[in-house]
């Protein structure tokens, strides 16, 4: 039994008939082929599937697809604007915050939601807020540094 879903993903209005038992991550990946959002556990435990829905970071692997009805969704694919990387993406690349890269989209989306909400987080706030994301490669230090640097850049851009 399929249900009608209307949602907006990366600024594009999407209308589809979907299996309502589907998780949002499967809709994004299998149906829309937005494979930038990763599945690390499918149990809401690693943060790799993090996307932004209506301004909040959510775990798309445990989110029923119908929760996306009339929502504004931003995935990693929607972050680069007019060929320009978002400062968080840029700082992750420059700062060595990426290794295997499988956790990266989730981390970047989590960091974006954090900085949208709190443009001047302390080191502790970054660590606290992003501690739901697992990275097995980096040791986290360079991720923390990249988020703090991106925050600084975003504040400067706002001031300009």
């Amino acid at each position: 039994m399929k249900e009608r879903l209307v949602t907006t993903v990366n600024g594009r209005r999407i209308e589809r008939y979907v299996d309502p038992s589907m998780r949002l991550v499967d809709f994004l990946r299998d149906e829309l082929l937005l494979t930038g959002t990763k599945i690390g556990c499918k149990q809401g435990e690693c943060g790799a599937c993090t996307i932004i829905m209506n301004g909040t970071a959510v775990l798309s692997c445990i989110m029923p697809v119908m929760k996306a009805m009339d929502a504004e969704i931003l995935t990693i694919e929607g972050l680069e604007k007019d060929g320009k990387l978002h400062p968080i993406q840029d700082e992750f690349i420059k700062g060595g915050a990426i290794q295997c890269g499988f956790c990266t989209p989730g981390f970047i989306m989590g960091a974006k939601a954090l900085l949208d909400e709190n443009p001047s987080p302390t080191s502790e706030e970054v660590r606290e807020e992003l501690s739901g994301h697992i990275c097995r490669c980096t040791g986290y230090k360079k991720i923390e540094d990249a988020v703090l640097k991106a925050a600084e850049r975003l504040r400067e851009e706002k001031d300009d």
Partner: protein
């Protein structure tokens, strides 16, 4: 002067990975593709009497079911050791896709390919299996007893010892033992831990009935994976194509060879279904049915003079390798070699390594490959000796640490060694002199500890190691380099291109690396043994010499100058600085390559080369805080000083060190796979396996001790695994400094620590 080597070039795959464009195996969707699910044994040891798939086959959407009755029965070893074991040793081939006997809870019994994953999983429930349960054995000591259940009777007749006892002998430990005056002995126990890389094992196999098999895979060794698959399915290796897509979501050793059995199962189903089949391990399958780190115990004895000089080392390691050999035998060698015997001046060494089969999940390669276990054992014993001698543990290490020019037992020389500097730098960073041995009272107590070690820059000579590659100048003067190294995370492909661009003399932005694909790129052993940058780089710098010669020879004729006066700098053909005047006008390589092309000439070289080996050295120091009321340990700081020769890309090197530090912290304090008899391992998810998270990351200082290795390309040595090795010894030593209690068993969970505190200090 290098333009790229030594510089923090942002990694070349950063853009793909930060934008979601980078493809991983799980992102591969092929037309007409089926999805797989696997039926696994609920028993730790049983005969599989029959597998009835008749009901499952009838389900709508089920396309193929693979069992022991319709798949090859070829024996193989799912790891690269199948093709990398050195002569005259033979690899242990004790695995089949599906076997008549299941040997651990989770062992594969059947697999279904269906239109959707949900249908495949549903079909598993309709497969009827008749088992005959067999007695099982779960730990090393029980498995070594007379009359113990036999896990692999065909491969370890009578004793469950996998692949024979691994022995290392140097000098004569027995004859010289009594020349020592002080004797230390420790026995340490280490737990099983899991790689827990972010991307689970997976493969998409696409079999063409004309006899060609293409497999997208999470392997960290594409060529060995291809060779294993060709053997299993009795196909010409030239008809098997293994490809990373090109990214792999972490490795840490767990997919040296096949990714558990993902490629074999997806391929078996694709051959039956004649359609592409995708099989992605669930997180639970990844935790419970792929290689882990060996648990076990090690008894170490040191004989030393009263002045602290080491006389002899005697080590016996007993490691639980689980149901199948995979890389267990090689691992026992490294435990004895790099783990226990590598970093100190021991004129006499006796090592026996026992790798024991049990009815548990297989243990195999995991970053450090036995060296973290060996280092924990040895460093515990060195600390013990320091205590007996009344010596500062740092001081005792400095006295016995290896240095440049020393002889050692390895079959290759110490090409460069800055271990002394590493020890001093790590100690300085942690504040050793001010903090060590300060009497602590109260609830929160602090201490510092130190550990050191060595590792390898590739697998040689313990296992086969070489690379093949080609380099060519494209018609526009850009450089294409190709060797089938994988990119599993460290940034090897960026570092190698830095090396190639510098060695050839072209701008890096005009250079590209084709990798991770056996149809596109020449042979590479794969990413293991901290080898990729060192071994592939070793070949690339040599190929660059040939390529430049070829260019100069043609350019000499074309420009009518003596080729030996030419140089290639930043993509321009110029006269060597010291060449006699007049110097030629700089000629762009782009122009030259195009002119060559118009005259039917391309600059292209290929070759293969086995590298030597160069030992990296390292020392870690830790500062911890122990809560006497809760048993909680907080690591305040980790200082890691590494002699990795030249750091090609310092930020990437730091990344490797920091990565190992946090993994080592998890090993020391919290990660543990816990077995429940009759149920299997408890830890089937991230939630049940306590990985370190961002909020617990301590202050970390990575110190790259300046060095240069004469054998390494541009002076580099391996680094990938080193950060994991002396972390646990440093932390456990720091805990002893804080609370006066030495732990001989890791991880130091709060419960374990509190119990001991109560034993020693009372309630």
């Amino acid at each position: 002067m290098t333009k790229y080597v030594g510089k923090n070039i942002p990694r070349l795959d950063g853009y793909d990975k930060a934008t979601g464009r980078g493809l991983y195996t799980t992102d591969i969707y092929l037309p007409h593709m089926l999805h797989a699910a696997v039926l696994r044994s609920p028993y730790a040891h049983a005969k599989v009497i029959s597998v009835d798939v008749s009901e499952a086959e009838k389900m709508e959407g089920v396309v193929a079911i693979a069992t022991k009755d319709n798949t090859p029965r070829t024996y193989f070893n799912a790891t690269a050791s199948m093709f990398l074991t050195n002569l005259p040793d033979k690899p242990v081939l004790d695995q089949q896709i599906f076997s008549d006997v299941v040997r651990y809870i989770g062992d594969e019994v059947a697999a279904v390919a269906a239109e959707t994953e949900a249908i495949a999983k549903e079909a598993l429930k309709k497969i009827k299996v008749v088992y005959e349960e067999l007695p099982a054995v779960y730990n090393v000591d029980d498995a070594m007893k007379d009359g113990a259940p036999q896990v692999q009777p065909d491969f370890s007749p009578g004793n469950n010892v996998c692949g024979g006892v691994v022995k290392i002998r140097y000098g004569d430990a027995e004859a010289n033992w009594d020349k020592g005056e002080v004797f230390a002995e420790t026995k340490v126990y280490m737990q099983r831990i899991k790689q827990a890389q972010l991307e689970t094992h997976g493969a998409v196999a696409d079999y063409n009935p004309k006899g060609h098999l293409k497999v997208y895979s999470t392997t960290q060794t594409p060529y060995p994976a291809k060779m294993i698959l060709a053997t299993i399915f009795d196909m010409p290796a030239s008809n098997v194509h293994v490809k990373n897509p090109p990214y792999v979501g972490g490795g840490f050793g767990v997919r040296i060879g096949l990714s558990a059995k993902a490629e074999a199962i997806a391929s078996a189903l694709s051959i039956l279904a004649k359609r592409p089949v995708k099989y992605i391990y669930s997180r639970s399958e990844d935790f419970l049915t792929s290689d882990s780190r060996h648990e076990g115990y090690i008894v170490s004895k040191i004989s030393a003079m009263k002045d602290g000089t080491f006389v002899a080392l005697d080590t016996r390691a007993y490691m639980n390798t689980g149901a199948y050999a995979t890389l267990g035998v090689e691992l026992a060698g490294v435990t004895g070699a790099n783990g226990t015997s590598g970093a100190y001046r021991f004129p006499n060494i006796h090592y026996d390594g026992y790798v024991i089969y049990t009815n548990q999940e297989t243990a195999g390669a995991f970053r450090g490959f036995g060296a973290p276990q060996g280092a924990f054992a040895l460093e515990t014993c060195v600390d013990q000796l320091a205590k007996q001698l009344g010596r500062d543990p740092l001081d005792l290490r400095l006295q016995n640490a290896l240095r440049d020019g020393d002889e050692w037992w390895f079959p290759y020389p110490i090409t460069s060694c800055k271990l002394m500097d590493c020890l001093k730098e790590a100690a300085k960073s942690i504040g050793w002199d001010e903090k060590r041995g300060k009497k602590q009272t109260g609830t929160i107590r602090r201490g510092v500890g130190i550990g050191c070690g060595t590792h390898v820059s590739n697998g040689a000579p313990f296992c086969l190691d070489y690379n093949a590659a080609f380099m060519r100048i494209e018609v526009d003067g850009s450089l294409l380099v190709s060797s089938a190294v994988p990119e599993i995370g460290p940034g090897s492909t960026t570092g190698l291109l830095q090396i190639a661009a510098d060695a050839v003399g072209v701008p890096m932005e005009n250079a590209r690396f084709a990798f991770g694909d056996t149809d596109v790129a020449p042979f590479d052993v794969g990413s293991h043994a901290s080898r990729t940058l060192y071994s592939a780089g070793y070949l690339l710098v040599r190929l660059a010499v040939d390529l430049r010669e070829q260019i100069f020879e043609w350019a000499g004729k074309f420009l009518d100058v003596d080729p030996s006066t030419l140089d290639l700098v930043d993509g321009q053909i110029v006269s060597k600085c010291d060449a006699a005047e007049p110097h030629i006008e700089p000629t762009p390589l782009s122009y030259l390559a195009h002119q060559a092309h118009l005259r039917a000439k391309q600059f292209v070289v290929s070759g293969c080369k086995a590298p030597t080996n160069s030992p990296p050295f390292h020392a870690h120091a830790a500062e911890v805080e122990v809560d006497m009321e809760t048993g909680m340990i907080k690591v305040l700081k980790l200082a890691a000083a590494h002699d990795v020769g030249v750091a090609v890309n310092p930020i990437l090197v730091e990344g490797q060190i920091e990565s190992g530090l946090i993994m080592g912290l998890g090993y020391a304090l919290r990660e543990e796979m816990t077995y429940q008899e009759g149920k299997g391992f408890y830890n089937d998810s991230y939630h049940k396996y306590m990985l370190p998270t961002m909020d617990e990351t301590p202050e970390m200082e990575s110190i790259i001790v300046e060095g240069f290795d004469p054998d390494g390309p541009f002076g580099v040595k391996g680094v990938g695994e080193c950060g994991m090795i002396p972390t646990a010894p440093a932390i456990v030593g720091a805990v002893e400094d804080a609370i006066g209690i030495r732990f001989y068993e890791i991880p130091l969970t709060p419960g374990r620590v509190l119990k001991k505190i109560k034993e020693v200090y009372g309630d």
